[in-house]
Symmetry: C2
Subunit: 117 residues, 2 copies
DNA sequence: TCCTTAGTTCAAAATTCATTGAACAATTGG
DNA sequence: CCAATTGTTCAATGAATTTTGAACTAAGGA
């Protein structure tokens, strides 16, 4: 019933960065922020990726300390751990979220990183 | 002679995040910051990883827009693109660098991400 | 010129990560 | 109770990433 989450002080920077470095997860986090940091059910994100894949990405976000997820009935409610992240890495989340504004869709982002050598 | 670098406005957020999400590269960037943003030669980082592997990571950093590298003689001088990053993603670099303070060594960081489910 | 220094490139191996479909579990409404 | 809804887990696959060693280039000093 209760899902494991890292405590605030054991949230790891490289971990958070690489978790947020995935375009699908970044889109999830941006949407969460747009929804006032949640809570939001998993199915809310179904336009971003498949159900099974969503499970995977939401687990990554939770395990890295970026989100909090809590089960209730057949649903799971996810929130952004904004206060915890701000305490652990002041300014990080804000600057990341600001950067998601001019972001193309995750699909485009995934394709469009050709660097000419 | 001249190495390719992305222009400031085409630096991609997910790209920067995943590039910085690697502990070895984060250590390189932290060291660069400690050295006043450089310039610093490649060999300066040889205590962090092998020469050949360093080539790989420095290329990633350069291609993502995090660093600038310029050849001179048999050496290459690398600097942090702090001003460009600040313009593109205000506050991001500062908060990341602040977070590297309490960072364990890259090796430890690589090993120590066991999440109990 | 020869040797050393600085760093790269290439191909292979090892690892990790993301995505999928099938099967499953649990809760809830009718 | 039955069926639908919500979401998970598992195993497989494919794709990217990281790491390594060997061979290489280019510049500079003796």
């Amino acid at each position: 019933m209760y899902l494991p989450h890292p405590q605030t002080d054991q949230i790891s920077l490289p971990n958070v960065l690489s978790v947020l470095g995935d375009p699908t997860r970044l889109a999830i986090v941006a949407e969460l922020a747009r929804k006032d940091d949640g809570p939001v059910t998993c199915s809310h994100f179904l336009d971003i990726c498949s159900k099974t894949n969503l499970s995977y990405h939401l687990a990554k976000l939770r395990e890295s300390g970026v989100t909090h997820t809590e089960a209730s009935g057949t649903s799971r409610f996810t929130t952004l751990r904004r206060a915890d992240l701000d305490r652990r890495f002041p300014g990080l989340l804000d600057s990341v979220l600001a950067g998601t504004g001019d972001l193309a869709s995750p699909a485009v982002e995934k394709a469009g990183n050709a660097q000419s050598a």
